[in-house]
């Protein structure tokens, strides 16, 4: 038989339970480790074949030659759709995906990021 207010018991229970939501900027829940976020580039491995540029659905990555056997990758974070196709298409595994996803900026010019992670630990942008 149906009666109004059937959800009452659940409401009372959740009154005493910990809320399921968190105050986002203060506390961050983060993304699971397999998450596809911002790209990471390793210039040593790159041979400048531009396979990633060809396969990128939104023309977000650009590989430029800056010296003998030295390449830098410029990624437009606004255009990038974080699909990871460039990581798969790169024959030399020069590109990796990190789990960083909070990339919003006020000034659009800062969204064009030059990745040349000279060494693994401090990839300066």
């Amino acid at each position: 038989m149906s009666r109004p207010g059937k959800i009452a018991r659940l409401l009372i229970q959740s009154l005493f339970k910990k809320p399921a939501t968190i105050n986002y900027p203060a506390k961050r829940s983060g993304m699971p480790e397999g998450f596809r976020g911002k790209l990471k580039f390793n210039p040593q491995m790159c041979i400048g074949c531009k396979m990633c540029m060809r396969d990128c659905p939104s023309a977000a990555i650009e590989i430029r030659k800056i010296g003998e056997k030295q390449f830098e990758a410029e990624v437009n974070l606004a255009k990038c759709i974080y699909c990871g196709q460039c990581v798969d298409s790169c024959l030399k595994h020069a590109l990796e995906v990190t789990a960083e996803f909070e990339l919003a900026k006020l000034d659009p010019a800062q969204l064009k990021v030059i990745l040349n992670a000279v060494n693994k630990d401090n990839p300066e942008e």
């Binding site: 207010g5 959800i7 009452a8 009154l15 809320p19 399921a20």
Partner: protein, 313 residues
């Protein structure tokens, strides 16, 4: 003169109503969120909304009749704040009371609904016209049971003044239980008056945008939301005075605390009911009110009448 000014502006008047209104809205929204397993807004959220709305640019629709459009929110706010003066908050004596102020308070609580109707109708937008008409049709559904319940307990107390009712029930605590049906019915009707979820048909967000308040913005919308808060406080304290008359003869501080607790209990009940139900359609709401609430209210009146004859004075 100064004492009257103090009563109107400071204590039971505007300043107290504003602060208590914001607090009541905070309690309502926080409980509503906690029932839904969410954290809910910080304590200053209602104040922040009010300030944000006040600072916004005001746009009056072209075809709207601008005087009526601007006047209605203020009328609603004024009517609901005046009603507090007749409700006994500190002890058994309200600020102004005469034999018959129950009718005045109930009338003053109906004025905001008419103000929203006129405001909605004169903002000439299709949605607000439909919303305005709906708020009137809803008015006829919940008004009769609400009046009957309050008048039933007035009849038992054999006086038409709120202070008299409060005093009577304070002396004869036993009579309180016979009004329990009236209290439940009045609470449900208060939901209708405050347009809370099971009966928030005039302001049905998913059907007609914001009902009669679609065209309102900035300052006027702030006043409308403030008048809803004040109406919630006034309605809750009316029910508290009529149906929950405890501890009226303790020292003033304790009495004010009792009053706060009673009002917060009623607000908690309102927000619990608000979380519990889905919004009814207008036809379902009207036949619910006339099939269940009105008969219960009549039953309450008959019960009180027989009780008055049987019980010694």
């Amino acid at each position: 003169m100064l004492k009257a000014l103090f009563h109107i502006l400071i204590f039971p008047g505007l300043l107290f109503l504003f602060i208590f209104g914001f607090f009541a809205e905070y309690v309502d929204r926080k409980l509503y969120a906690r029932f839904q397993n969410r954290i809910g807004p910080p304590w200053f959220q209602p104040l922040a909304d009010f300030i944000k709305l006040i600072s916004k640019q005001e746009i009056i629709p072209e075809e709207a009749d601008s005087n009526v459009f601007k006047l209605m929110p203020l009328l609603a706010l004024a009517a609901s704040s005046v009603a507090i003066l007749y409700i006994p908050i500190l002890g058994e004596r309200s600020v102004f009371s005469f034999n018959g102020d129950v009718i005045v308070v109930l009338y003053l609580l109906t004025v905001p609904t008419f103000a929203y109707f006129l405001g909605g109708w004169y903002s000439r937008s299709v949605y607000s016209m439909i919303g305005a008409v709906r708020s009137l049709t809803q008015l006829f559904a919940y008004e009769v049971p609400l009046f009957l319940c309050i008048l039933a307990s007035a009849m038992l107390a054999d006086t038409w003044s709120l202070s008299g009712i409060a005093a009577f029930y304070n002396q004869h605590i036993g009579y309180w239980f016979c009004n329990i049906i009236g209290f439940v019915v009045a609470l449900i009707c208060l939901l209708g008056k405050l347009e809370k979820v099971p009966f928030d048909i005039p302001e049905a967000e998913t059907e007609i945008v914001a009902g009669s308040f679609t065209e309102y913005n900035a300052r006027l919308l702030a006043f409308i939301r403030m008048s809803f808060n004040v109406e919630m406080v006034v309605g809750a304290s009316l029910l508290a005075a009529v149906f929950l008359p405890f501890g009226l003869n303790l020292p003033p501080a304790a009495v004010f605390l009792c009053y706060l607790i009673q009002v917060l209990i009623i607000i908690a009940a309102i927000s619990f009911l608000r979380t519990l139900f889905a919004r009814l359609r207008l036809d379902q709401m009207i036949n619910f009110c006339w099939k269940y609430l009105a008969p219960l209210a009549f039953l309450q009146v008959l019960f009180n009448l027989t009780l008055k004859v049987v019980l010694p004075r």
